[in-house]
């Protein structure tokens, strides 16, 4: 399988462990990634908060670049990017005048952009049976709390993926890998998202609640499919613990780490050794 690939800024910045993980894992599964030539930032929260037109134009430029490369499908591993790409595509599809205006703004043909896929959808496309058949090291000791956060499933009118309140797609994947996911209450609560720098206390409180709920339901790790969630739950985990006057020791894996571990890849192959929380009391 060959997929268009829009890494987004985080995966080429401090979340480069996520890119290492998904590249190692997908290569092992025979998926090749065609990176969008000269992609630009999607604008993220800053654009949609301050400038509505810019928040459509930036993702639209990327959709157009993918289209120019002849890519029918584009994998966007960051849910922020993927929501913004989907939103821009839908806004333009619904409004011919907007489409023409944006084409002028971004200096590219914006008709017929690619279908945008998140990480879970890529694994679904590979197929759970194929994943199951490729498992060499079943993850039988792992009891993950599968954490979806916000933008993988919300708003459903835009992302149209799984159930917005009780998603199960990650549980299905980790179960195929031999893990035993726990039932818990915070799988779609917000971690504080991009407020890590500007409003740190918000992030510590919201992420702390998520970690506490996962622990209370017997999880021994968290699984995420978002770079921002990983930053808040892994890098900020010690601070979140201190903020709630407790201590957490919960490794946070990307979904691709889970698949890779089950395929027999090593922690260093996927950058798991570069996470902040190692687990086991370290």
């Amino acid at each position: 399988m060959n997929l268009g690939y829009y890494p987004g800024c985080a995966l080429h910045g401090s979340s480069n462990d996520y890119e290492q993980s998904l590249r190692a894992c997908l290569a092992a599964l025979g998926v090749t990634l065609a990176e969008i030539d000269d992609w630009i930032c999607c604008g993220a929260t800053s654009a949609h908060s301050l400038n509505h037109k810019l928040a459509i134009a930036l993702p639209a430029r990327n959709l157009a670049l993918a289209h120019r490369q002849g890519l029918a499908e584009m994998f966007a591993p960051c849910p922020m990017c993927s929501m913004q790409l989907l939103r821009a595509g839908q806004a333009m599809a619904a409004d011919k005048r907007l489409r023409e205006e944006i084409a002028d703004i971004v200096e590219a043909e914006v008709d017929g952009g690619p279908r945008v896929l998140n990480l879970i959808q890529v694994f679904q496309r590979i197929g759970l049976d194929k994943l199951k058949g490729a498992v060499r090291t079943p993850l039988q000791d792992l009891k993950p709390a599968c954490y979806y956060g916000c933008l993988l499933v919300r708003p459903p009118t835009v992302v149209d993926f799984d159930d917005a309140e009780q998603p199960q797609s990650m549980e299905a994947i980790v179960t195929a890998l031999g893990a035993k996911p726990v039932a818990w209450s915070y799988k779609t609560e917000c971690c504080g998202a991009g407020m890590t720098m500007a409003k740190t206390e918000t992030v510590l409180e919201l992420s702390g609640r998520i970690l506490a709920n996962a622990v209370a339901h017997g999880a021994n790790c968290l699984v995420v499919a978002c770079p921002m969630c990983h930053v808040n739950l892994d890098m900020k985990q010690a601070d979140a613990g201190a903020f709630l006057r407790t201590k957490f020791d919960l490794p946070v894996y990307y979904l691709s780490d889970m698949v890779g571990m089950a395929l027999g890849l090593g922690a260093a192959d996927m950058g798991i050794d570069r996470h902040f929380v190692v687990g086991g009391g370290n």
Partner: protein, 195 residues
């Protein structure tokens, strides 16, 4: 409450930007009930919408809560009347930014968003170290808070050790087109109000 001279009426702009009919809201309170930051808000989402229904956009534009919203989309997802509350929050932020009616308590968040966009405008892709430096510098010029300036300083060696720190950030090759996209989408009247 003064209104910025010469500004268009805010409420039609909010409805247009958010693609939402504010009159649809029947005040059930689901948006506030599910909001992860409602506990800190001066005016929670349900009341913000009510203020707009009553024509009081000035109070809504000055609320701290529009900058406390984390854009998690829970309100929009759960609204039984399809009011896109998260998009209304975006519209309020954009207008407050353009008109300079920013809540003084929440300038820090605006400075961050502004530093982020400035960074993208110049590089096409985010340069994290430069963003942090620009944001911290802008906050320091306003607040003169040394603890804030040096908070997270201990993180740099930790990130370095994990090969997560990039002293030279990536850039798009065609930065000219990025600059033109910004120029074509940014209203001339925007002074940002965040200086």
């Amino acid at each position: 409450m003064e209104t910025t001279a010469g500004a268009q009426p805010a409420i039609p702009q909010i409805e247009s930007l958010s693609q939402t009919r504010l009159a649809e809201c029947y005040q059930c309170g689901k948006c506030t009930a599910g909001c992860p930051t409602a506990g800190q808000m001066d005016i929670p989402p349900t009341r913000l919408i009510r203020l707009l229904q009553l024509g009081d956009s000035d109070s809504a534009l000055r609320a701290n809560s529009i900058w406390q919203c984390v854009s998690c989309q829970t309100c929009t997802t759960r609204c039984p009347k399809r009011v896109d509350c998260a998009a209304v929050m975006d519209a309020l932020r954009q207008l407050a930014f353009e008109r300079g009616t920013l809540s003084p308590d929440e300038r820090r968040t605006v400075l961050f968003q502004k530093a982020f966009l400035d960074n993208i405008r110049r590089h096409g892709r985010l340069n994290e170290i430069e963003l942090i430096a620009a944001f911290k510098g802008a906050v320091f010029l306003r607040d003169r808070s040394l603890p804030f300036l040096f908070r997270d300083a201990g993180l740099a060696p930790q990130l370095q050790k994990r090969r997560k720190l990039h002293l030279v950030g990536e850039q798009a090759k065609d930065r000219g087109v990025v600059a033109r996209i910004f120029a074509r989408t940014t209203p001339r009247s925007t002074h940002g109000g965040a200086q």
